[in-house]
């Protein structure tokens, strides 16, 4: 991809975001438009805003990359990220809106009348948000590195700075219109290039993916290794390398690579002859195209699939930046209708990543060697569509990717900054500013420290934590009168500890085999345990049912058209 066009894509989106963020404040209302917008925002715009905020780098880049590397099993990821909204719709959407809660800790406090539960919820919101932000920064680095060859830390820092500026001047988040626009930008950025890519694929004879061989380089290919990798060579191959391979310096000389692991240093370029088998980065499975195209091929893949389904379907409702958007709906019914529209919008968007993944398998197999499969969406347009058209399409997908980081990061940052300011710092505007910086700096530091992981995998872990903590709290809180304060607290702590430990283990040094599978996809055991603990402890402490439970049930479930007493609880506002 041409650097100039790619950078242009980045700059245009960043500038537009900053401009709308700073100028928009003056146009829009002063503090937050949520209270005012709730009277005027239509369900379509609201649903677009939810979609714009929800579709992160994991959706825009990560899914296609995971499908490229792992195949059909990963199709469940977008299915779960959409289906999560169906579960949210059915179980909690209208009651959440009716609760009047603005954040998850608000809901916890309103329902259980306990500051302890509120604080536990706050801590979890912060942890989930950091886990969600970490891969956004990492893949921002990937994008800048792919389009401009910049060092990986620059992307994360750029995104963090833009988000900080925007949040601190109070823009972006408060403007539903901007988030709504981001959805359509992201949809366009995937939909338009795919038309040209599919045309190019047809022109190429529409090759399929059913061979019984692992991917091969279709022609003589030079692979530039951006970050040092260890790759597994499966059959002997003579390459020409420029850089350092296996600790020896090679400068453009032919080199025989024997089967087995080889270490390739940063900045090395390796040229493979056409037809050579693509060496896979260590840790990625080597699959033939046929194995790749059918589900349930690998070890423990049935467990992993079920666990992934649980995490994504149940985790969506517990994401910190989702609930706050429901506040913009005028009432519970509108919240439901908006959610159905979100389902349509997400379904439309998620038709595309699978296509990118499959085309990437055909045309950019070298990503399997560099391990940067997340870059497939960015790489394909330049590879398949040459010339100016390819450059322009490349700029479009790059802009879409930047929009994905910015909208999601801003949404989460505002949510977590509010929680930090209100529940952990002292409250007020200064605390909100401090909270914003804290919300960004910690995941940024983690992004540099943690090993590079697939963006969609880490986001998947955030879903698992949300599913193990907030899902039981919300579902039982909305439907079960006998939920008690100790029950809720015990469930949150248990689910959070188990899922959090699994996440930490997976990110730092995952064990192999079944234990690794259990830790990498913890939801299948953490979610049932969290539910069970919450229920059993509530049964054991029947006297600690909050006194206002009956009134809260009225508030959560009666339609707004009825004139009934819904209690006086109001969320505190930063």
């Amino acid at each position: 991809m041409s650097t100039a066009y790619g950078l242009a894509g980045v700059v245009v989106v960043v500038l537009a975001t900053v401009l709308i963020g700073t100028l928009g404040v003056r146009i829009s209302r002063t503090t937050s438009d949520f209270y005012v917008a709730s009277r005027t925002v239509t369900p379509l715009r609201n649903a677009s805003a939810i979609g714009g905020e929800y579709l992160s780098a994991a959706s825009f880049l990560g899914i296609a990359g995971l499908i490229l590397a792992h195949g059909a099993d990963m199709l469940w990821l977008p299915v779960g990220w959409t289906g999560g909204y169906l579960v949210l719709l059915v179980l909690v959407s209208a009651p959440l809106r009716r609760s009047g809660a603005y954040t998850l800790p608000d809901f916890a406090e309103a329902r259980l009348e306990s500051m302890a539960v509120r604080r536990a919820a706050s801590v979890l919101v912060v942890l989930i948000s950091w886990l969600y932000l970490l891969p956004q920064f990492q893949s921002a680095g990937l994008v800048l590195r792919t389009v401009a060859g910049a060092p990986v830390w620059t992307g994360g820092v750029l995104i963090a700075v833009v988000v900080a500026v925007n949040v601190l001047v109070g823009g972006m988040r408060s403007i539903t219109l901007v988030q709504a626009f981001q959805y359509w930008l992201k949809l366009t950025a995937l939909a338009v290039p795919i038309v040209f890519l599919l045309l190019a694929w047809r022109y190429d004879g529409a090759p399929g993916l059913s061979s019984n061989l692992p991917p091969r380089f279709p022609e003589r290919t030079t692979v530039s290794v951006g970050l040092a990798v260890t790759v597994n060579v499966t059959e002997p191959v003579r390459v020409t390398a420029d850089g350092r391979v296996d600790g020896r310096t090679v400068d453009g000389a032919p080199l025989d690579l024997a089967p087995g692991p080889h270490h390739i240093d940063q900045g090395t370029s390796v040229t493979f002859p056409g037809g050579a088998s693509v060496p896979h980065v260590q840790g990625d499975p080597v699959k033939t195209d046929r194995e790749w195209s059918i589900p349930l091929g690998g070890d423990h893949s049935l467990y992993a699939t079920y666990s992934l389904i649980l995490a994504t379907f149940l985790g969506t409702m517990g994401l910190p930046h989702v609930l706050v958007r429901f506040y913009t709906n005028p009432d519970g019914r509108a919240a439901r209708r908006t959610t159905v529209m979100v389902l349509s919008l997400l379904g439309a968007f998620y038709l595309f990543p699978a296509l990118y993944g499959a085309l990437g398998r055909l045309y950019t197999p070298e990503l399997l060697m560099t391990g940067r499969t997340d870059a497939v969406v960015l790489t394909l347009p330049g590879r398949l569509v040459g010339g100016l058209g390819g450059d322009l399409l490349g700029a479009l997908v790059t802009g879409g990717a930047v929009a994905a980081f910015l909208s999601t990061s801003s949404g989460i940052t505002v949510s977590v900054a509010g929680v930090l300011a209100q529940d952990i710092l002292r409250g007020g505007v200064r605390s909100f500013r401090a909270g914003t910086l804290l919300a960004l700096v910690v995941p940024l530091a983690l992004a540099f420290a943690a090993r590079s992981l697939s963006v969609a995998d880490v986001v998947g872990l955030a879903f698992a934590v949300a599913a193990s903590t907030f899902c039981p709290l919300l579902v039982l809180g909305v439907w079960w009168r006998r939920l008690t304060v100790p029950g809720a607290l015990a469930g949150l702590v248990t689910g959070g500890t188990l899922a959090g430990a699994a996440v930490a283990w997976t990110i730092t040094a995952p064990p192999a085999g079944l234990a690794g599978a259990l830790l990498a996809e913890p939801a299948a055991w953490t979610v049932p345990i969290a539910f069970a603990v919450m229920i059993v402890v509530s049964w054991c402490t029947p006297r600690r049912v909050p006194p206002g439970t009956a009134r809260m049930m009225v508030r959560l479930h009666t339609p707004e058209s009825l004139n009934v007493d819904r209690g006086t609880w109001r969320p505190k506002r930063v």
Partner: protein, 196 residues
């Protein structure tokens, strides 16, 4: 409506409540009157306030109404989740147990791709729409039931002419809520005896 409840007791002409005790004396001075003891006792236990007020005051009756709403909505949600669960948990099971299903070609593509990368999304939307319609119907039924003027809900309590009273004394369970038009909703419309 007035805080004292509906215009009391129709044709009984100012007879205070607990009328059955006074009936023998009163009957002598009012020829042509009809004994309505049985139905009166039943009518006296009926709520005289709109149910919203029962809910606000968290009486047993109000609680019963609320529970019925929550239960109806929860049943609906559970049913939808069950359908969703069968689909999404069934698919991996199907692929695991029936290897042909994994490799079956549909429209030139493997079946799992056709389902997971395309067909399942419209199904989600259809399920979502269905849920919204049913959930709103539950709420409408509830609102109609609860918000209705007690006069309309209980003809015995307010019938000023006594016309209705004359032909009610038959079976005590006869025409209650005669204008209930919506879907049958047995539980909330039934509680003649508010649970304690």
């Amino acid at each position: 409506m007035t805080p004292g409840g509906p215009p009391p007791d129709g044709a009984a002409g100012g007879a205070p409540d607990g009328a059955s005790a006074r009936l023998p004396g009163g009957a002598a001075t009012a020829p042509g009157r009809v004994l309505v003891t049985g139905s009166r006792a039943r009518a006296a236990r009926r709520p005289r306030y709109p149910v919203t007020r029962e809910i606000d005051e968290q009486t047993g009756l109000g609680e019963a109404y609320m529970r019925s709403l929550v239960r109806a909505q929860f049943r609906l949600a559970a049913r939808l989740c069950a359908v969703l669960g069968i689909v999404v948990f069934g698919l991996p099971g199907l692929f695991a147990l029936v290897p042909q299903a994994r490799e079956q070609q549909v429209l030139g593509l493997p079946l799992p791709w056709v389902v997971l990368a395309g067909a399942i999304y419209p199904c989600f939307v259809v399920l979502g729409r269905l849920y919204v319609r049913l959930a709103e119907r539950n709420e409408d039924d509830f609102a109609e039931l609860v918000d209705r003027d007690p006069a309309a809900r209980d003809p015995l309590a307010t019938d000023p002419t006594g016309a209705l009273a004359t032909h009610v004394p038959g079976p005590p369970g006869a025409p209650r809520a005669p204008d209930a038009s919506g879907a049958p909703r047995p539980r909330p419309s039934g509680p003649a005896d508010p649970p304690a």
